[in-house]
Symmetry: C2
Subunit: 315 residues, 2 copies
């Protein structure tokens, strides 16, 4: 199937619209502000930010579609010494790439509503290369098991519709990806994560067709709004105290650590001279670090830490 | 000259003691808490943390002396493909290393007192390899030019005593090192930074002797307390408002970005399974991020941003 770039970009813009509407409705107070930006080397984006809402303290729903010469690392082995002359490659013709996607991070005001992240992206490059990537993952400040189950069941439902292996494969991928190595903690309760879907189409025995995967990918995007607004409804009126707020700041600190130390999208963006304000919209309004913080025995905080592990079966 | 490991470690411990005393005196309220830790693979450290003082909100003065098998990246070219089998190297005998140092980061409560960082380190490895590294740099939330001048003049004085080129060389090194590439900003007003001093001893025409550099290195360490306590005295009673506090949070956010994205010591520590709480003591109690924050025209904040540039001559 031929992918029409305008078609896929427009579909993503429509998704951005519908997600923003659903979030504004769930928040009940704040509206998204929009900023359109142009990338010098080709393409641009539509950044939408929501702030100081009833429920959402800071969040972004970002659309972008960029194109141009592919950055070296996309099609070359990395130089293995920083002193190697790279000028020799400058005259070569670089392949062209095109990438479009929607990225979301929402930081709620109350520690009782989880942080959420979603990203779906489509990529193509000269030479017939194209793939799909994406994922949704949930980072509760306090892990409520019924919410984690609800979340994972919703994702499994989307996956199962398209391939019997997708949920187990992509759930494990999220566990491995959203892992804060130095803390020996997962970022949250995970979700699904996939990358370069369809890249080896036909060559690895899977023989999935692109159309089918594109539908899966679209449905992942469409799952975001109903799932997250349900989690908002369930938790937005729960009471909390000063200790819960302090804990939220520390959990946000971990979120910052993951995003700045490990997240590939962030690294990619910062290294390729991406739009910094869009890339770092994922960081919370406030985050905290306390030296050698210890949770109290049998506390909710301790229980949450016990659930920030890989390999938990939530369905 | 033969370096005696115990001698250099003990000197560093003494430095830690005297710096902690000076900071406690300048703070006038809080005392350092001490934690001794042991590194499984060899050596350990003495972490001292101060919190919730009159002036210091969160700070650490850390001593460590570690030894053992040198991590691969210290003596090998990096593998240029992640898929390369590294198991082939496992049976090789690794060289032994020894590293000791003192590291300091102080985050003051008031936005009028600058954040400061100092580190001095001594490293040796089998095969006669040894070097000295270190630096001090200042990160004011608001750049007061008279303070930046005072700070740089003090560093220049120490440098000039030992080598006519040191200040200009190490000042530039700090400008280049403490640079937040994606923000196109320096972290603060810089200071001095040097690494692998004496590594090429005798081979590059400099022919400095180790003794002489060791004295320089010690004096850098001894410069910290008088310089920073003076900056505290100058600024601790200055008044500030809610906007100044907000700006402090954003500047601390930048500090977090630098430390997690660029700082080599942090990366080294996290990648080599270092003691996370000691490594990340450098992060502030609270930090903030605001989407696309713009300073007001002709404001103090705008003036500060204008001074976060490389190459400013402060002396």
């Amino acid at each position: 199937m031929e992918i029409n770039r305008a078609e896929i970009s427009n579909w993503l813009k429509g998704l951005q619209d519908s997600i923003c509407s659903a979030l504004e409705k769930a928040d009940g107070k704040s509206k998204f502000e929009e900023e359109n930006w142009i990338r010098e080397e080709g393409g641009g984006g539509r950044t939408r930010i929501i702030r100081e809402g009833n429920v959402i303290e800071k969040g972004g729903v970002l659309f972008s579609a960029v194109e141009g010469d592919a950055p070296d690392f996309l099609f070359k082995e990395k130089e293995h010494s920083s002193s190697t002359q790279s000028s020799a490659t400058k005259s070569e013709v670089k392949p062209k790439f095109f990438a479009t996607g929607v990225s979301i991070v929402i930081h709620p005001k109350t520690p009782m509503v989880p942080i959420i992240h979603m990203n779906i992206r489509y990529f193509e490059m000269d030479g017939g290369i194209r793939w799909l990537g994406g994922g949704i993952d949930l980072t509760p400040h306090y892990v409520f098991e019924e919410d984690a189950k609800f979340f994972h069941k919703a994702l499994k439902k989307v996956c199962d519709k398209h391939h019997a292996d997708y949920y187990s494969k992509f759930k494990k991928w999220a566990d491995d990806y959203f892992y804060i190595v130095h803390r020996k903690e997962t970022r949250g309760v995970g979700g699904i994560f996939f990358d370069r879907l369809n890249e080896g189409e036909g060559s690895d025995g899977e023989r999935m067709n692109f159309d089918k995967n594109l539908n899966f990918w679209k449905e992942v995007g469409e799952t975001f709004a109903p799932v997250y607004t349900e989690l908002i409804e369930r938790n937005k009126n729960k009471t909390f105290n000063e200790n819960n707020k302090q804990w939220q700041l520390l959990r946000r600190g971990r979120y910052v650590e993951f995003n700045l130390v490990y997240d590939k999208g962030t690294k990619f963006g910062l290294e390729t001279n991406g739009r910094v304000e869009s890339i770092l919209m994922s960081l919370p309004k406030l985050a905290g670090w306390e030296y050698d913080f210890k949770t109290e025995k049998n506390s909710e905080e301790e229980k949450t830490l016990g659930l920030l592990k890989k390999g938990i079966d939530w369905v």
